[in-house]
Subunit: 249 residues, 2 copies
């Protein structure tokens, strides 16, 4: 039986011991307004104290609403939240792409969706290096991916997959929510339907499977053969994100 | 004894077989004007044909000279080279940072240096997804890191370390140069003193060790204890770039 309180204590120990052993100072977390970053923020605030947590909102042609939900999290836990609007930087980049040719929306779809998580990663590392220089102690970037997302490769290589410490990677969606309840993550954030904020689709629409089914699959409890095959296919197709072919002489 | 001709054949086989097994179309390579990307471009052009190679120059407040050297490579091998100037996108990002406070050059130094390889990675993946959509066959991003650089962690996490295929990772600097001679990479590019184009220092100045010594170390031929310790320290300090601490429940 999953014991959320016990897990919270163990994760806090894990964070504290890694920080102590490596003489680290603080953490930078991208706060999307969704449950995963809310839970990660709650855990780091408890482990390090709010004064060592920096949250960052990273809108890019985004809804204001996500920023408001990020503020709910920051206000509840009491850590500093800064905003870096990536819209102009993205648009300047796109101006350069437009110099290369006339591309239609369909051709640009995947490029435009996946550049944003990469710009966000780059921004979080920018802030981590800047905080490290200002505070004179090393800040690192926390990952927010959970076990279900990672299993089906639902992340952008070089984007949200890049981080310095991962605390949710072994926890399924329902386990993350239980931890969030234990940590009292604001309900609006914790129970929000997961979406990437990029494609106007929910995660489950994009994946074509439900997180609850991925979770059952991981726990060997999934019975439906069609859904099983779909999950296995997603996992197999994500293989290249984990294993980079490397020539050996 | 290192046989450059034999290695060229083996690398070409490696590339072709990976492309065939995964039904891939082409490759995107960031062309810096230095030897590593020159050698990678030569190998991919021979393996896939120049029509399936897209080179990208990615200046960001950069010297025009690097772009000219990239053209030497593209012209010699006959692949298409496009330019994406990241200067405006970088400046727009910096405008947002300036809204957060007044930071001095020393505080911004590491942030400003490391954001550029990340912007370049993001641009290469942008072009790979765009080419894939246009050509209807998958383009992937080639890494250009060599064995000496990787051993001492001389790369930016989430930047030049992110790629879809790595062909130089098991080759030392002198081996890369021998392969470049075999491939007739333009001499100006092949024998250029390696520098990151970011910090106004050569790689060796920044590292505090010579590539030839890293190579000797890798080959168990290095005698000087002080240099040995310096290399071991660099390697140890890079540990966190390869091993992300991950909580297990």
């Amino acid at each position: 039986m999953f014991n959320a309180k016990e897990q919270v204590d163990k994760i806090i120990d894990f964070i504290r011991s890694y920080y102590k052993n490596n003489n680290l100072g603080g953490v930078v977390i991208g706060i999307s307004g969704g449950k995963d970053s809310g839970v990660v923020a709650g855990l780091f605030t408890k482990a390090l104290g709010p004064e060592n947590v920096l949250g960052v909102t990273l809108p890019c042609h985004s809804k204001e609403e996500d920023k408001e939900d990020a503020k709910l999290v920051a206000n509840y836990y009491g850590f500093r939240l800064v905003n870096i609007d990536l819209t102009n930087s993205f648009d300047s980049f796109k101006d350069q792409i437009n110099l290369l040719g006339n591309f239609n929306d369909q051709q640009l779809l995947n490029s435009d969706i996946n550049i944003k998580p990469r710009m966000r990663m780059m921004s979080l590392y920018y802030m981590a290096a800047l905080e490290s220089a200002i505070k004179g102690k090393t800040y690192i970037v926390a990952g927010t991916g959970n076990k279900c997302e990672e299993y089906v490769g639902y992340f952008t290589k070089g984007g949200d997959s890049v981080s310095d410490i991962k605390i949710l990677s072994d926890l399924t969606v329902s386990e993350v929510i239980k931890i969030g309840e234990e940590l009292k993550v604001p309900e609006k954030v914790l129970y929000k339907t997961p979406n990437d904020g990029l494609s106007n689709q929910t995660d489950e629409d994009k994946l074509g499977v439900k997180y609850s089914d991925i979770e059952k699959y991981i726990n060997n409890e999934l019975l439906d053969e069609n859904i099983k095959q779909r999950i296995e296919k997603l996992h197999k197709n994500a293989h290249h994100k984990f294993n980079i072919p490397t020539y050996k002489k």
